[in-house]
Amino acid sequence: MEILRCEGIRKVYGTDLNQVTALDHIDLSVDKGEFVAIVGASGSGKSTLLHILGSVDKPSEGRVLIDGADISALNQTKAAIFRRRKVGIVYQFYNLIPTITVRRNILMPLLLDKKKPNQEYFEQVVKVLGIGDKLEFLPNQLSGGQQQRAAIARALLYRPALLLADEPTGNLDRKNSREIIDMLKLSNRSLNQTILLITHDEKIALEADRIVTIEDGKILRDEKRG
């Protein structure tokens, strides 16, 4: 069953003289439960695509359908609620709120929805991510890798149907990367979560069901694996 589909996505930055076409006519369809890795050279447009899929950025052209709904047509409030409930995003730069504790940062999507967090699941997530003892710290008291893990925890906690992760392991050592990928895979399997993950790491890409390669804003290859 298709959960995500984008048609003719174009993204152009800047005006006139210094125009940059970051994405050029991207068509992509992802099924529910798929684990997709997106790879490509630096500057090829991976993050841009992810942002558009997560509705935090608007495409210059084209539309994005999630669960059949056209998110590029949603108004801001609807888009926000949609993001909160359906999509978890992990950013390349972690984007934690600096003035509140790590715990609140992680719980924030739930708090925004005035929902009670599932305590058990929370414990589990922070334990696997190894930040259980850092919950009462402020983000900038954590190392880069710890911050990244907090950002992942935040994205996972709502158990979103779609998880978008931009180099979630970019700042981590091999052992930690392994653990996080395992966590994502577990979540992918047990919750039937759909995951799109950007990575530079070939080993990690090979774990995915499908590898999409982007070059110069276009999809160069799209290969399904065993």
Partner: protein, 725 residues
């Protein structure tokens, strides 16, 4: 979001809240000052109207007997009905009616009139009093703009406060744009963000608003007190009592809260509408759109100068309001000071100095003809009087044949070149306006002696001068002769009287003659003969008195009392005395200066507080920028230098702008009033202006000092880490 985010944020970032707190405080202070002041003006207006017109609302006039009056007073909305003492005409009675609900006065009056079998014409209304309650009666044809004006001023102040303080909110909110970007990216709706920001504004603003309201009321109390002290005469000698009503307080609070919330809402709405990624990237932040070098600054102050210049330029938009409010404050203050200095010079010229030796006491005798006045002798002989002149004015036309006009006047084109619509009579003679000054015979004879002609009561003395307004201005007039030296008679309407003499001088009187009039002096006895034919004089006459002792207020007051005793109750009179008038005038100017000054000062306070809060917020926002400078080796000394340059620039530009504009305005005023520039320079308000400027500068410097000290104390690594993690 309040519990989970704002509370912590505000607790940890007190500095960024200062500007908002100050903004809210100022808004409340200003509004409460203004509202309670206006409320008191309003009360005073009502009191004044009550005293002048009475406190009644409607009045019915007609053939009303006791029965009807009882009927009126039993009418539903009628509080009381009072029969007026003064009769309104034959068989007519007027009844003043007081209503409990003023809103329905018109309808009620109509139905009362109807029930008494009278028409609407029988009703009259206390328009002025009712208009003070925003009640407009149909048929009232005066504009009654007082209450709308009050409301308009309050609305204007609200709007300008919003314009000023929304900027503080914008600065504080934009510094967190990144955080709100994260919030929206994880699913906070624009509504939630707006609500959160408004909540913050409310919580931060509440205490300052309460405090500001309280101080504002206190301030208006002081103002009312000061106004009764300094300017009692302005209000017609009525004592103003200070009052405040709970409803007014509620209105003030409501207005302040609304002002603060709207100020917060404007930038919040903009912020909440940004797409998450825009916000996270913070594109609206401190990037320079175009790279420009401040060559002059870098030449003047080196690298630090260039940094300071580009930092200020990058902040262009946020600092624009600061610049503007500073410029306006400077401009307002300087203009006010210069204006008072100029008008002081001008009144001295046109009035006080000019008439210094002309009068000590003026008595205006109402409704009296000079030939009927019997007290001249007694007044002249009274103790302390050095000399007195009794005179009356009459304005009429006289006919002048062209041949008698002086060569000088003819060469300028004659009187018709100066006066529009001059007419000719049947014989082709000019009809020119003439002011006939009728002097008592004794004074007239004295004037004859003064100008060296033998005293005679048979004719008129012409003041042979005409203001040449093409070659001189009113402040330094040049006069040319009006008529030729030879002139035997002058024709007034229905009378021709001999001309005793032509004179370049005129008797010293405190009179301003109309431009281009032919002024002539005639003795009262002559006037008595011709007045029946020529026409009437003005209804009042005057006595000008010079005193023996001219320098003390007490002496003049004593003399003034003596004159009043001599003349009343026989004559109805009004008196003035020179020293008292000077004092009153000074007092009035002081009063005006005080009121204007208070407004200017408040304005300046807004400007300065704004600078203060903005500078603090601005510096706080830039801590990472400074950290970068320091991490690449800018020394604390260099930072301080940079701060100094920034402070200088921040105040320098508004100052220059205001200065240039003031100079232009003053130059214009000087030109328009024909005052010699040097005279203004001598009286220029250097001290107050300097004090004001220095105060403003001190505040900006203080803000930079405080902000800078904080920044220099912060740990470098902490600053670099900042919030982009």
């Amino acid at each position: 979001m309040w519990k989970n985010y704002s509370y912590d944020y505000l607790k940890k970032n007190k500095a960024s809240s200062y500007s908002i707190i100050i903004g809210a405080f100022i808004a409340a202070l200003f509004l409460s000052f203004l509202c309670s002041l206006f409320y008191n003006f309003w009360l005073d207006n009502i009191e004044g109207t009550r005293q002048e017109e009475g406190g009644w609302h409607g009045r019915i006039t007609g053939e009303l007997g006791a029965e009807e009056i009882v009927k009126i007073s039993h009418f539903a909305n009628v509080e009381k009905a009072v029969v007026r003492e003064e009769t309104a005409g034959e068989g007519q009675t007027s009844v003043d009616i007081y209503f409990s609900n003023k809103r329905t006065v018109y309808q009620d009056m109509c139905s009362i009139a109807e029930s008494l079998g009278l028409t609407e014409d029988a009703c009259s209304y206390n328009y002025q009093l009712l208009s003070l309650y925003f009640i407009r009666i149909p048929g009232d044809d005066k504009p009654r703009m007082l209450m709308p004006a009050y409301l308009a001023v309050v609305a204007l102040v609200c709007v300008s406060l919003i314009l000023v303080i929304h900027n503080s909110f914008a600065v504080s909110q934009n510094s967190r744009i990144h955080q709100f970007g994260i919030f929206t990216s994880i699913g906070a709706t624009p509504g939630q963000i707006c609500t959160c920001l408004l909540q913050e504004a409310f919580v931060l603003g509440l205490l300052p608003i309460l405090l500001g309201t309280f101080l504002g009321v206190l301030l208006s109390l002081c103002t009312v007190w000061a106004m009764t002290e300094f300017a009692a005469d302005l209000a017609g000698g009525r004592q103003m009592r200070f009052g405040i009503h709970p409803v007014i307080l509620a209105v003030i609070l409501l207005l302040s809260v609304l002002t603060v919330l709207i100020s917060a809402y404007l930038p919040a709405r903009k912020l909440s509408r940004m797409t998450p990624l825009e916000a996270i990237r913070g594109t609206d932040g401190m990037q320079l759109k175009k790279k420009r070098h401040s060559r002059m600054l870098s030449v003047l102050f080196g690298m630090e100068g260039e940094l300071a210049g580009s930092a200020l330029r990058a902040q262009g938009k946020a600092l624009r309001t600061t610049s503007l409010s500073l410029t306006l404050a400077f401009l307002g203050f300087m203009l006010m000071q210069c204006f008072f200095a100029l008008s002081g010079i001008s009144t001295d010229y046109t009035y006080f100095e000019r008439y210094q030796d002309v009068w000590d006491i003026m008595v205006q005798v109402e409704d009296t003809r000079i030939e009927d006045f019997r007290k001249a002798e007694q007044m002249e002989k009274a103790q302390g009087v050095q000399s007195s002149v009794v005179y009356q004015k009459a304005k009429t036309l006289c006919s002048l044949p062209r041949e008698v006009l002086s060569e000088e006047l003819l060469s300028l084109g004659g009187p018709e070149a100066f006066v529009e619509g001059l007419s000719f009579n049947g014989e082709g003679n000019l009809l020119v306006g003439t002011t006939v000054m009728i002097l008592d015979d004794r004074s007239f004879e004295e004037f004859c002696r003064e100008i060296g002609v033998s005293p005679s009561l048979s004719g008129s003395i012409l003041w042979n001068s005409f203001w040449d307004s093409t070659h001189s201005n009113f402040r330094y007039p040049v006069y040319i002769p009006y008529v030729k030296e030879k002139m035997d008679t002058i024709k007034l309407p229905n009378a021709e009287i001999p001309v005793t003499a032509l004179s370049q001088k005129c008797p010293l009187l405190r009179e301003e003659y109309e431009d281009y009039q032919l002024v002539q002096f005639i003795p009262a006895s002559l006037w008595k003969e011709i007045s029946g034919k020529v026409g009437g004089a003005e209804k009042d006459m005057y006595v000008r008195i010079l005193a023996n002792q001219r320098d003390s207020l007490d002496d003049l007051n004593t003399l003034e009392k003596e004159m009043i005793r001599l003349l009343s109750p026989e004559y109805e009179i009004e008196t003035e005395n020179r020293i008292q008038e000077r004092l009153d005038n000074d007092k009035m100017i002081k009063g005006y200066e005080f009121v204007f000054g208070a407004f200017c000062a408040l304005f300046a306070v807004i400007g300065i507080a704004h600078v203060f809060s903005n500078t603090l917020g601005f510096l706080h926002q830039r801590k990472r920028e400074f950290a970068r400078y320091m991490s690449v080796g800018l020394t604390p000394l260099g930072m301080r230098k940079m701060f100094c340059i920034e402070a200088l620039l921040m105040i320098g530009r508004p100052l220059l702008t205001a200065l240039v504009m003031t100079i232009a305005a003053v130059a214009f005023m000087i030109k328009a009033s024909y005052i010699k520039p040097m005279e203004f320079v001598r009286a220029a308000p250097v001290v107050p202006v300097f004090t004001f400027l220095l105060t403003a500068f001190a505040f900006v410097a203080l803000a930079y000092y405080l902000g800078g000290r904080r920044l220099l104390k912060i740990n470098l690594a902490d600053m670099l880490k900042d919030d982009r993690t």
